[in-house]
Structure formats: C-alpha cells, structure tokens
C-alpha cells in the first residue's frame, strides 16, 4: 500500500489534521516553557494527569477524561499558589510531582489495576483520534495562535524578563497565569495525542531548535512552528514508509532538526552560558 493510499483512511486523515494544528501551535508553548523555565512544572502536570487517570481507573470513569480535568485544574492552581506561598514554581512542582505519583500508586495498588494499564494514560495514540479529539486539538491550537497574535508584545516582555514586564506597567501576573494555564491545556491534549512521555516532541524540541538559530522572538515563534510542522509531517510519513512507531519517528526527526540547528547556531559566547 502506498503512502498516498493510506490517506484514504479516516485515522490517517485525523492524524494529519492533528499534526497540522499541533505542529504549528504547540511549539509556541514550548517557547514559553524554555524562556520561563517551566520544565519542572510541565513534569508536575504530567504526574497530576497520571493521578487523575488512576482515580479514573479506580472509580471506573474514563481515565483520560479525569486526567485532562486534573491537568487543567492543576494548571489553574499552580501559578497562583506558588505566587502566594512565595515558592518557586519549580519547588512546588517537585512537591506536587512526588505527592501525586505516590497517591496514584496507592490507588492503582488498591484498585488492583495492572500498572501497565495505568501507564497507558501516558502513551496515547496519534492514529486513534476521534473527531472530538480533533476539535479539541484544533480549538486549543487556535487559542494559542490567537493569544500569541493578540498579545505578542505582552508575551515578549514577560518572556524577556517578568520583572521588566511588571515595571513598565503590564498585567504581568495575569499573563503569567494565562501562560501556565495554556501549558496545562496543551499537555492535557498532547497526552491524548502522542502520550505524556512524548509531549516534548511537539512542545519542547521544535522550540529548542528554534532558539538556537533565531535572532528575535518573532523568529523563534516562526521557526518553532515550522520545525514542529516539519517533524510531525515527516515523522508520520517516515513511520509508514519504514513501519516504525509514529511518535518515536516524530521525535527522531525533531532531534535531527535540533542537531542541524546546532551546526547552524549563532556563535554567541554570552548566550551559550544560559543553556
């Protein structure tokens, strides 16, 4: 069966559409994560989602749905809580991460669920997306694009330096929380699509590649979307040609792009220290 013929299958069309949306929009969230140091937070959210999934399995409710719900709730809570307690988002994330993991394991044990079944929540499958999934991915992608377009200057200031964004009179907290909230949404849906463990293929890797070669935030956003789309499409195609798992192929392509960008990176002494 040729590659073109596979496109007749709805599941392939769905995967393509999902990659089109997520490939363009999700890497922008990756740019936020890198600039604001939200990597631990993103880890914590995945674990919170796992807890949601475990509770779902325990209560015999759709584990994915509860996982999503937990992710969204935690993304709304984590920013303000860390601000109130004057803790870094990183420290609080570590706390949440271990706590939720422990709780999840207790539930999984008590419910007599096979651990592998529980971890299924973390894997997802891009080739089994429903129309509803597509609508959700499309909506969240649009929200991200609209947010970046409408609030470009606010986002630029906050990613550059939160203190400066506040000092020039922007509602810095509001936008910071909004960014964390969008991160939560993105993690929730990408978990459904490609699984929590492979989220970075869409969110972080293209953004990393883009920051290596960009000279402004506009360029960073542009290249991260380009790379996201490229690795998604190429990954889907190659996974069929070589008959290998799609998510892993997407990651491989994204990693190759990063390697390529390393070769082309700007030679910046001061900038290298930061990474």
């Amino acid at each position: 069966m040729s590659w073109i013929q596979t496109l007749n299958f709805p599941f392939m069309q769905h995967a393509l559409i999902a990659i089109l949306f997520a490939g363009i929009a999700f890497p922008m969230i990756g740019v936020f994560v890198l600039s604001l140091n939200l990597i631990p937070l993103r880890f914590a959210m995945m674990h919170v989602a796992l807890l949601g999934g475990a509770i779902g399995l325990f209560l015999k409710v759709d584990p994915l749905l509860l996982g999503l719900l937990f992710c969204i709730l935690s993304s709304m809570a984590l920013g303000p809580i860390s601000e109130k307690m004057k803790l870094g988002v990183g420290i609080l994330s570590g706390y949440f991460m271990t706590l939720t993991l422990a709780l999840a394991f207790i539930l999984i044990y008590k419910a007599d669920i096979h651990v592998l079944e529980a971890f299924n929540i973390l894997w997802g499958n891009i080739l089994s997306l429903t129309i509803l999934d597509l609508i959700i991915v499309g909506l969240i992608s649009l929200m991200i694009l609209i947010m970046v377009f409408l609030f470009f200057k606010e986002i630029q200031a906050i990613l550059y330096d939160r203190e400066i964004a506040l000092a020039v009179g922007l509602p810095e907290k509001l936008f910071y929380y909004l960014i964390i909230f969008m991160l939560g949404l993105t993690i929730a849906v990408s978990m459904r699509m490609i699984g929590a463990l492979l989220i970075d293929a869409f969110v972080l890797l293209p953004a990393m590649a883009a920051t290596l070669i960009s000279r402004s935030l506009k360029q960073t956003f542009f290249f991260s979307s380009l790379f996201g789309l490229l690795s998604g499409m190429a990954g889907l195609y190659l996974s069929f040609v070589f008959d290998i798992p799609t998510s892993s192929t997407i990651i491989l392509v994204a990693s190759l792009i990063i390697a390529g960008c390393f070769l082309f990176r700007r030679r910046l002494s001061g900038y290298e220290k930061v990474r």
Partner: protein, 225 residues
C-alpha cells in the same frame, strides 16, 4: 499629580528579617535623591516598595500623590515609573537592542495594541540620549554588562516616566564609564524634569549629583546631605 515620593515610618519584613525599620524618605518634585548603604542594607527592597512590588508591614507610601495601600492594582502608576533594575535576567532569548528599549513603551501603549511610529521615535530618542544608537540592531546578550545597563536605562527613559528608580546603575562599569553614565542620568533628570531615586553603595560617586543623600543603615534612614 504631585511629582513626588514620600515614605513615612516604613517597616518591611522579608521572611524573618526586618529589613526596614521606620524609614522616612522624601523626594520632592524634580529632586535627585540618592540612598546609599552597604550590601544588604535594604536598598533594593526600598525601591521595590516604592514600585509596589513589596508591601510594607507598616508605614505610608505616597507616590505621585497616590497612597499605595489604597490601590489593589498599581499598573496605572507603574506606567509613570521608570525602573533600572540592579540585575536583569535578560539573556534567555535573543532580542535586539531597539526592541528591548521599545519595551519601555509597552505599558503605555495599552493591551493588544501594537507599537506605532511615535513609540519607535521615543525609543530612538532614548537610545540617543543614553548613547547606544550605534548598537540598535545588536543582540542584547552580545553586549557587555555596562552596555546592557545602558539598554535598561534607555528603556526606562523611552517609557517617558515622571519618576525614575535606579538600582546601582553603575555596578558593571569601570571608573570612567561610571562618571559618564552618572552624567547621562543627571542630564536626562534635568531635561525631562524627573523625580529620581537612585540607590548605590558608592556615596562618593553620587555626591555631586544628588540634591539629598540618605544613608540606609540597620533598617533606618539618615539624611546625610
């Protein structure tokens, strides 16, 4: 609006430390006030209180005639206060100098609006006043520490504030550049009729430029000039 800053019987606690214990400082319109003190004396803390980032446990802060404790949202005031921070964590992503300076306009432009021609003009004017026009297309992380400090100063000026808060604006500079940037600050202070509050550990340096100097020591402020 009064062009002024007034701190009355100010107490600030950070964690378990009483950093400020009854500080009184007044900056009248268009005055150049310096606050000097050793490392850890509470100088940065003082500026953060004036900018409404830290809340005092006691005392009254009046900025531009507004009593800060009466307002929950201080963004309207911050648009009128230019800040040059002590250290910036500004090299996370690449941005060129002119964009970094334009950022000073962002609060005043208003949400969702794009910078327009006049905003760019003000950014260029500020870069010229500070003497960094020749770097305008360079990336901020590619500049030296002193040059980056000038970018921060230019941003604060592009904001067209009524009040200028400067936290150790000479930290990364050699002796010669110190006097140079102090001259620049002083000139701008006069040209734009700003009320300036500068904190520094170097009382010698600020002496000739300041209308009044306070010494911050053990939580108290002493008028020494």
């Amino acid at each position: 609006m009064h062009h002024s800053i007034e701190l009355a019987e100010l107490y600030v606690r950070l964690g378990n430390v009483s950093v400020l214990q009854g500080v009184n400082i007044e900056a009248k319109p268009c005055e150049f006030i310096s606050v000097v003190g050793a490392n850890g004396a509470g100088k940065t803390t003082l500026l953060k209180v004036v900018n409404g980032i830290l809340k005092p446990s006691q005392g009254r802060i009046t900025v531009l005639g507004y009593n800060l404790s009466h307002y929950k949202n201080l963004n309207f005031l911050r648009k009128e206060i230019g800040v040059v921070p002590q250290k910036s964590n500004s090299n996370r992503f690449p941005i060129c100098v002119e964009e970094a300076v334009l950022m000073g306009r962002y609060g005043k432009i208003g949400l969702m609006r794009r910078p327009k021609e006049p905003d760019w003009d003000k950014a260029y004017e500020a870069m010229k006043a500070v003497g960094i026009s020749q770097f305008s297309k360079k990336l901020v992380p590619e500049l030296s520490g002193g040059e980056q400090q000038k970018v921060a100063l230019a941003r604060a000026i592009a904001q067209e504030p009524l009040i200028l808060l400067l936290d150790e604006p000479t930290t990364y500079l050699d002796q010669e550049s110190r006097s140079e940037i102090m001259e620049i600050i002083h000139t701008i202070h006069h040209q734009r009729e700003l009320t300036t509050l500068l904190v520094s550990h170097d009382d010698q340096l600020v002496e000739q430029y300041s209308d009044k100097i306070y010494l911050l020591k053990e939580g108290k402020g002493y008028l020494i000039k």
